[in-house]
């Protein structure tokens, strides 16, 4: 077998060895919120600014010998989750138990001792190494910090581990500086530094996304073989579902700080349940000559984490959203803006005039009053009804409970949002109303209520 090719069957051999029983890491209800500094006035009065819910009530287990993938786009909270696990960022609430010990709230001193067993490989190989230290110094530094070796022995251990990661002969790399190395070599050095202490858990945050394609496989292979030799457990953080498919036993899909789907790798790929997971899979570019650019991707982007949508965070972009998914005033703004993009200027001006100031739609609410002066209200209502006729299949309309004249204005009211729950659906757990019997029933009731 060519050294460069390794097929899926032997990969799964490497991946096996997952133990059952007490998990190595148990995360429960973890929350990491950042507070955004409010305006000067706010600070003066003492009012807190908004909070960014980077990690919003996440729970999962990680078993020894397992590779768990944390997949999400930017703003999903996956990096923050990794960093909270490592203690680099303080948790706001919840618990992280590592080998039975509670990590959150642990004083820095004790956390530092645990760092020997918990290591990390960061994303950017070009920036993860200190430009002022040689490779030998960088890789040897953890040994120094933890007093595990000194003097000559450090150099010996460093040479050993460099050879192990493929930087051989070690002598050739020991005295080089990071700027003398290629991206792949740097990442190997970073991995060497992470394993020199023989940790138990390795958090890998996008370890290959900044490397060229022809190099990625080498690093992934290295990581897999290290896993076997050192009995490592990995938390693999990435936005790339394709590499996650290879590397991971289980996958957790994250969106805006929450896990929306989690389960065994095969199950997720063969039968993705959450519409977001489905979209992610569709969107991956494939060098397949028969494919063209996917045209059915969800619109919009990951929303601002400091002001998440009501109900299910994904609902504004979801093609299958329905009554209870959390429709609100900001969705109406998005709808109108989408309608007006590319409309002829005169029509846009007219419609804009009818609706009036859109700022009232920026405060999240399930009921809103528009066009508060009687004459415009009629036109505004007409416009909304026209919009609905133009595109009746738009999920937004299913969320509208009532749209009528009231007190000389137009009142729009949406169904009350239900927060989605992480529930079992076959082999996976998914947080989506489509798989929640109670939610589906409620939506049914609401549908029959609305005239």
């Amino acid at each position: 077998m060519s050294a460069q090719t390794r097929d899926l069957s032997s990969l799964s051999e490497l991946r096996s060895g997952v133990s059952t029983g007490e998990p190595l890491v148990a995360v429960n209800g973890l929350k990491t919120y950042y507070s955004i500094r409010g305006s000067f006035l706010d600070r003066l009065i003492g009012r807190e600014g908004a909070a960014v819910r980077a990690v919003d009530d996440v729970s999962f287990d990680l078993h020894k010998g397992e590779v768990l993938g944390l997949v999400g786009e930017s703003g999903s909270g996956k990096t923050t989750l990794g960093r909270t696990l490592l203690g680099l960022v303080p948790a706001t609430a919840g618990s992280v138990r590592f080998e039975g010990r509670e990590l959150t709230g642990l004083p820095e001193r004790e956390l530092r001792l645990l760092r020997r067993r918990l290591q990390v490989v960061f994303q950017d190989p070009h920036a993860s190494l200190n430009p002022a230290m040689t490779i030998a110094q960088a890789v040897g530094h953890p040994l120094q910090i933890h007093g595990m070796a000194s003097g000559d022995e450090i150099r010996l251990r460093v040479a050993e581990v460099l050879e192990r990661v493929g930087l051989a002969p070690a002598e050739q790399f020991m005295d080089k500086y990071p700027s003398d190395l290629s991206g792949g070599q740097k990442q190997r050095a970073v991995i060497a530094r992470a394993i020199v202490l023989e940790p138990v858990l390795l958090v890998a945050d996008e370890p290959v996304s900044m490397l060229d394609m022809s190099v990625r496989a080498k690093i992934l292979e290295l990581m897999l073989s290290l896993k076997q030799d050192f009995d490592l457990t990995y938390l693999y953080i990435t936005h790339d579902l394709a590499t996650a498919k290879f590397f991971c036993d289980r996958i957790a899909i994250m969106y805006l700080g929450r896990i929306v789907e989690i389960g065994p790798s095969e199950a997720i790929y063969e039968n993705p349940r959450h519409p977001y997971t489905q979209a992610l899979l569709r969107a991956i570019p494939e060098p397949d000559p028969r494919r063209s650019v996917p045209r059915d991707l969800p619109r919009g982007e990951v929303p601002d984490a400091s002001r998440p949508p009501l109900g299910c965070s994904f609902h504004p972009r979801c093609p299958r959203a329905f009554e209870v998914c959390g429709w609100e005033s900001r969705d109406l703004r998005d709808l109108l803006e989408a309608r007006w993009s590319g409309l002829e200027e005169e029509r846009y001006e007219a419609e804009r005039a009818a609706i009036g100031n859109l700022d009232v739609l920026d405060t999240p609410a399930t009921r809103v009053r528009l066009a508060a002066d009687g004459e415009r209200a009629e036109r505004a209502l007409g416009l909304l009804e026209q919009a609905r006729d133009d595109d009746p299949n738009e999920p937004f309309w299913r969320g509208v409970r009532r749209m009528a004249r009231a007190d000389g204005a137009v009142e729009v009211e949406w169904h009350d949002p239900l927060s989605p729950r992480l529930l079992q659906a076959g082999e996976v757990e998914v947080e989506c109303h489509l798989y929640d019997e109670d939610a589906l029933r409620r939506a049914d009731e609401l549908r029959h209520e609305t005239p």
Binding site: L220, P287, P289, Y348
Partner: protein
């Protein structure tokens, strides 16, 4: 591609100065871009694709110099006085960067950006026309008119990229060069932006050179593709054909190395891309090529056409007349010293 090419690159070389000998980033490249065509320039880091893309519109960093021909509208852009080149950039040739924030001034509203661009290049437009053109272009990119007067920081990354594309398109250029336009974006937004770019030729009659390291997006959105390695184009042709049946071993290896949902094997290319100051003798890919022949080490390959409309720079495709006797003998790929691994 029918008719005259819109832009014709002939034997272009772009070298970067160093304290020692120059870096031969683009070393003799020829390429034609047709009207309303999307051409992908794909390769790994350091292959010269970005330099080529920028060199085509004359936007090279300090310390870089170009030699050769880039023929556009009957003129050679290489060596054109900067003033003339500036006049072309904008109305005829545009560039989209990887980081949208680099082109957008954080202190200026979006409307100001458009006004400035239009006023500079199309002086005779009235304010109303400027607004109309801007809103129309922005609308096509999915930016609503309600946000016309906002500042760049109020938009997300994907929207900023759309704004930048709109800014480049509002002048209706004939050719746009997009340098890794989606690399810093998430995958769903990337798909959205790519759909926009792939439609440029239809909606705006604009040709696009898409520079990227991602084979997948090239396969999905480009009409033709040019694969680059060590400063040269090693293969070129219609995207579908090149990806279905690659002619050059590097393209083959690159395709096999790409990890996608369908991949069943992990594959990589041994060794690392060569030093561009002192590239290997003969074919630059020979130290890493699984199909290396004797001649590949001695002589640089001559460009051939394995099929009409396709080019390849590889001795496997001849021309037979130029291969000395014994040249076709297959060799063992030399054991690459582990130290040379990427």
């Amino acid at each position: 591609m029918s008719g005259e090419p819109l832009l014709s690159v002939r034997n272009l070389r772009v070298y970067y100065g160093t304290p020692g000998r120059p870096v031969r980033a683009v070393d003799g490249v020829s390429l034609d871009i047709g009207e309303a065509e999307v051409v992908g320039l794909v390769g790994e880091s350091g292959c010269g694709k970005s330099t080529l893309g920028r060199g085509v519109i004359g936007l090279l960093p300090e310390g870089a110099r170009a030699h050769g021909e880039v023929v556009y509208g009957g003129r050679n852009l290489v060596g054109l006085p900067p003033k003339a080149l500036r006049a072309l950039r904008g109305p005829e040739l545009g560039l989209i960067f990887q980081e949208p924030m680099t082109r957008l001034n954080p202190l200026m509203r979006i409307s100001d950006h458009f006004r400035e661009t239009l006023e500079q290049h199309e002086r005779r437009l009235t304010n109303r026309e400027i607004r109309r053109r801007s809103l129309e272009t922005l609308g096509r990119m999915g930016i609503p008119p309600t946000r016309f007067r906002q500042y760049p920081h109020e938009f997300s990354g994907g929207m900023r990229q759309r704004i930048m594309i709109a800014l480049a398109l509002v002048l209706r250029p004939k050719l746009l060069v997009a340098d890794e336009p989606t690399t810093s974006l998430d995958v769903i937004v990337e798909g959205q932006i790519l759909a926009l770019l792939a439609d440029l030729k239809r909606n705006f009659s604009t040709s696009l050179i898409l520079v990227t390291h991602n084979l997948g997006i090239v396969a999905e959105s480009c009409d033709r593709v040019a694969v680059m390695y060590a400063g040269k184009i090693v293969e070129e042709g219609p995207a579908r054909n090149v990806f279905a049946e690659p002619s050059h071993p590097y393209t083959r290896e690159l395709l096999r190395s790409t990890i996608s949902l369908d991949t069943t094997e992990l594959h990589s290319i041994p060794g690392a891309p060569p030093n561009l100051i002192d590239p290997p003798s003969g074919c630059r890919f020979h130290p890493r090529c699984p199909e290396i022949m004797a001649v590949c080490r001695e002589r640089a390959p001559i460009e051939t056409h394995p099929e009409p409309g396709r080019r390849a720079l590889c001795w496997l495709h001849g021309p037979d007349g130029a291969i000395p006797p014994g040249g076709r003998q297959r060799l063992e790929r030399e054991a690459i010293a582990v130290a040379e691994e990427a």
